[in-house]
């Protein structure tokens, strides 16, 4: 049985500062997993220290995620990279992103 035209995947772009710094592809529902994690559990997948999320809220096209402390752009990218790997999404093409996550450092 071949899969239908829709392979059921989802692309999520990560915006840091002024531009998109990476994008991840996972099974559809990946954004919902991340959103539940950040909004309901106040946790980033793969990280267990409390208070890492200073603010998280859904936006029109995705989510605003503010991390506590002063963090460099590369540190933010690294955190998101680990977060996505831990919920089964992997670096992929930037085109066609369904959601954008705007990641910021609090300070």
């Amino acid at each position: 049985m071949a899969l239908e035209n829709d392979p059921g995947l989802e692309t999520i772009a990560v915006k840091i500062g002024r531009g998109v710094r990476g994008s991840y592809q996972g099974l559809a529902g990946t954004f919902a997993s991340l959103a539940y994690s950040c909004l309901d559990k106040k946790a980033i997948p793969g990280f267990y220290e409390k208070g890492l999320i200073a603010e998280a809220q859904l936006t029109e096209g995705g989510m605003l995620l503010v991390l506590s402390g002063k963090r460099s752009e590369s540190e933010l990218i690294e955190i998101m990279d680990i977060a996505f790997e831990n919920i089964g999404a992997f670096p992929g093409a930037q085109a066609g992103a369904k959601y954008i996550i705007d990641v910021k450092s609090k300070e």
């Binding site: 899969l3 392979p7 059921g8 529902g29 539940y36 680990i82 089964g88």
Partner: protein, 483 residues
Amino acid sequence: MALKTSKEYLESVKKLSPRVYCGGKWVKGLLDNKITRSMVMANAAIYELAEDPKYKEIMVATSHLTGEPINRNLNVARNIHDLDMRQEMALLTSQTVGTCNYRCVGCDALNSLAATTWEMDRDLKTKYNERFNKWLAFAQANDLAVSGAITDAKGDRKKRPSQQDEPDTFIHLVEKRDDGIVVRGIKVSQSGAIGSHETLVLPGGALREGEEAFALAFAVQNGSPGLTYICQYNAYSAEREFCEEEAEIGNPVFGQRETSTMVFDNVFIPWERVFLCGETKYCGRMVTRFAKAHRMNCGGACKVGFADLVIGGTVLAAEYTGVDKVPHIQEKIIDMVRLSETSHACAIAAAMRGREEPKGSGVFLPDDLFGNAAKLNIAHGFWEIIKNAGDIGGGLVVTMPRLKDLEDPEVGPMLKKAFTAAAPADKRLKVAKFLQHWAAGLHGTGTWHGAGAPQTQRFMISVLTDFDAKKKMAKKLMGMKEE
């Protein structure tokens, strides 16, 4: 990418940070902890087998969804040959790592899901099979390590899931949302879940009307917030953790079977990963189909691979002590082979007599009677095999000093004097340590309970065997008239 290399798997594990507790501490990196590393290295070795052209027929299959080459651990059996290669994979992986192929339960779980979700869609007009196929294609495309979680904590066995004082003893539904479900509960004895990318969670048994909250099947990502893994810990764990050199251990690189208790504390599962939610009628079938596949593979092939290693070690022990030509030793070794090979024969028969189930699904499952016979046979046989290993290996198997003591300037010469026989002391002690891993280790009880304790196989055999037909043929031969 359809096939991950061993190196790529290890790289992927470095990025995983599941919440793992092992021996009194939280594990920061799966590869940095000696105990969890042994599990990951075993999985890496399974990936490596698929890279070897020599094992391509066994380890690599063709996806029925995409036509791409995939690791057989992610394959849905579509014919007899697939079933046969599946059990051969179980044999090969056990012979190679001497511990669990940690992708094995996931493989049998996904075959059960392929059959049962197809059946549910046919009967109930649900979309579970479509979802499952999308998940499977994703897992295949990324060659994910998928483990399987079946056994609930269960609580008081006299009570049904909904009657338990502690509801978390069974995985259950907390909330249904537009985008997914929230689950909580506990699964126990989960082989290799810590180093897998995902785990397939199935109901632990048949459920009745009114128990809809416990009727769940889904795939969960390893690092999902709310999920905690508490690793087993025993004398062998402590030995690995505190030894000077892992080379001293019975199975130095891959270790004992590493399991964990998986605690789900309100874990979110998006609908795209939910393959059964509330349909109690199908839980029994789902578990039975899993067991059908797993008893052939676990009982008739995996443990046979272990037995091959034990037999190999035992023959070496006999040679090293100079008793290999003694008739009763040879007889005991032949008995070990008999016990092992009859189980493998049952697995081969289970594959050869496999059939499409349900009809029209395209999914092939092994013959139930032969699969159960394979498992029941090895459950008893494996104790006999390790008993003979201890018998022939001698008391040294449990009384030996530390291997490293041979290097001590003071006691080393004494030990060499004591333990040199038909072979040098270091060889004798090395093989004694190897046999200790089996004869005094975790595999006896593990083999007994893995794929279900023997009482479950006895029950299945009693259901599957046509005793009336047997009585009838006996009566006919005796000339006894039918009443």
